[in-house]
Structures are given as structure tokens and as C-alpha cells.
């Protein structure tokens, strides 16, 4: 049951260019969407989030866009830097009651080429 889908297992981008990572979801009850970054041998690290009532959130080089009608969100990284090379997970949460766990996508491995 893939409620959160990241259809690109990997993405290669040149340093300095824009990286765009995509994510689709099926559950319209999700009310928050988050992006996590993961380096090998480390746990996921929070990057940026967006509430379902917004369509854009920006934090420095990172911007997340949400299109609720299409059930699609994207993470833009501008400009891409070598340290951005990592696996990026899209995640979603639903305040259905209790301490809600996150639903993750499978991740996209971003490779920034010099």
C-alpha cells in the first residue's frame, strides 16, 4: 500500500543547477508533508515541511511546492551543492489522533555532479 510514492529512485544534477525531487500521495487525509535527507550510516534528518493549507514553503535553498488537486509535491534545491548528495525521503502525516507516525516514500538518491 504505497500511500506516498517517489517514482524516481535516483536523480543526477550538475552542481549549481536546480534539483527537483517529486513525490505523489494518495491519501487525501494527510495534513502535513515533510522532506527528510539521509546520508549513509545516519538517520533521516528533517529538511523542510509544508502544511496542507499552503502551497509553498521556502527555507534558504530549499522550497517545497504542494499541489493538492494533483496530490503532488516537489522539493526544489537551488543551487545544488555537492553536500546535497544524499537520499531524500518524502513523508506525510495525518493528525488522525494520537502520536502519528510518518508515512514515507521509498526515497530518491540525489547525486550532485561537479
Amino acid at each position: 500500500d504505497q500511500q506516498v510514492k517517489q517514482n524516481s529512485p535516483s536523480l543526477s544534477v550538475q552542481e549549481g543547477r536546480i534539483s527537483i525531487l517529486n513525490c505523489d500521495y494518495t491519501n487525501s487525509m494527510f495534513d502535513y508533508f515533510l522532506w527528510y535527507k539521509k546520508y549513509p550510516a545516519e538517520g533521516p534528518t528533517f529538511l523542510i515541511s509544508i502544511s496542507s493549507i499552503k502551497d509553498k514553503n521556502e527555507d534558504g535553498r530549499f522550497t517545497v511546492f504542494l499541489n493538492k488537486s494533483a496530490k503532488h509535491l516537489s522539493l526544489h534545491i537551488v543551487p545544488s551543492q555537492p553536500g546535497d548528495s544524499a537520499v531524500y525521503f518524502c513523508a506525510a502525516s495525518w493528525a488522525g489522533g494520537g502520536a502519528d507516525g510518518l508515512t514515507f516514500g521509498k526515497g530518491t538518491h540525489l547525486i550532485i555532479q561537479p
Binding site: D31, Y32, F33, L34, Y36, A41, E42, G43, P44, T45, F46, S49, S51, F89, A91, A92, S93, A95, G98, A99, D100, G101, L102, T103, F104, G105, K106, G107
Partner: protein, 115 residues
């Protein structure tokens, strides 16, 4: 900067044995979580814990699993009788509040290998 810590980093056990994975959440956090990631697959939610009881659990979290906060700092995941398919990275996380507005901080993970 405060961080979530997990021990051990790698645990090898034989099928049928019990294992306990340990986590120290960030000290002022109130919500605690366990997730797992089987090699090549997505990170999956197992259980959340608040106010000394389970708040939510997934269908993966069956009777073989239990969680405990034995003292004011540790948060443990016990697997009673391990199976080969329990081999995975297990991540502990904690947050100050609940819901997507509150960031969940993840530990570095424990790699569990069941032979």
C-alpha cells in the same frame, strides 16, 4: 545540538532469540517512535509512545514486539523471538509535540541482522 542516540549500532542475533534495541531520545521530547527500514525498502512506522503508553502502532507491530520506557531517559524496543525477516535498520525518533508541525528527530539507527 541535542540528538537521539541508539545502541548498539549493529546487532547480530540468531533466529528465535530475543533482542532489545535501546534509544535515548532528546531530553525534553514527549513523543517517541520506532521505525524500521528493510534493505532497499522504505522507512516504515512501527509504533509511537506517549505518556508511558503506546499511542499508535502499525500492523507490523505484532505481539512479538514491545516497547518500554524503563527510566526517564531510555526508550527500548524488544523483539521476543526474532525471525529472518526482522533483519533491518531500526530507527528511533522523538518529537516535542505530535503532528507534522513538530519535527521528528531520528537517531542513527541499529542494524539488526538475524541469522
Amino acid at each position: 545540538e541535542p540528538e537521539v542516540t541508539q545502541t548498539p549500532s549493529h546487532q547480530v542475533t540468531q533466529m528465535g532469540q530475543e533482542v532489545i534495541l535501546r534509544c535515548v531520545p532528546i531530553s525534553n521530547h514527549l513523543y517517541f517512535y520506532w521505525y524500521r527500514q528493510i534493505l532497499g525498502q522504505k522507512v516504515e512506522f512501527l509504533v509511537s509512545f506517549y505518556n508511558n503508553e503506546i499511542s499508535e502502532k502499525s500492523e507490523i507491530f505484532d505481539d512479538q514486539f514491545s516497547v518500554e520506557r524503563p527510566d526517564g531517559s531510555n526508550f527500548t524496543l524488544k523483539i521476543r523471538s526474532t525471525k529472518l525477516e526482522d533483519s533491518a535498520m531500526y530507527f528511533c525518533a522523538s518529537s516535542y509535540g505530535t503532528g507534522g508541525a513538530y519535527e521528528q528527530y531520528f537517531g542513527p539507527g541499529t542494524r539488526l541482522t538475524v541469522t
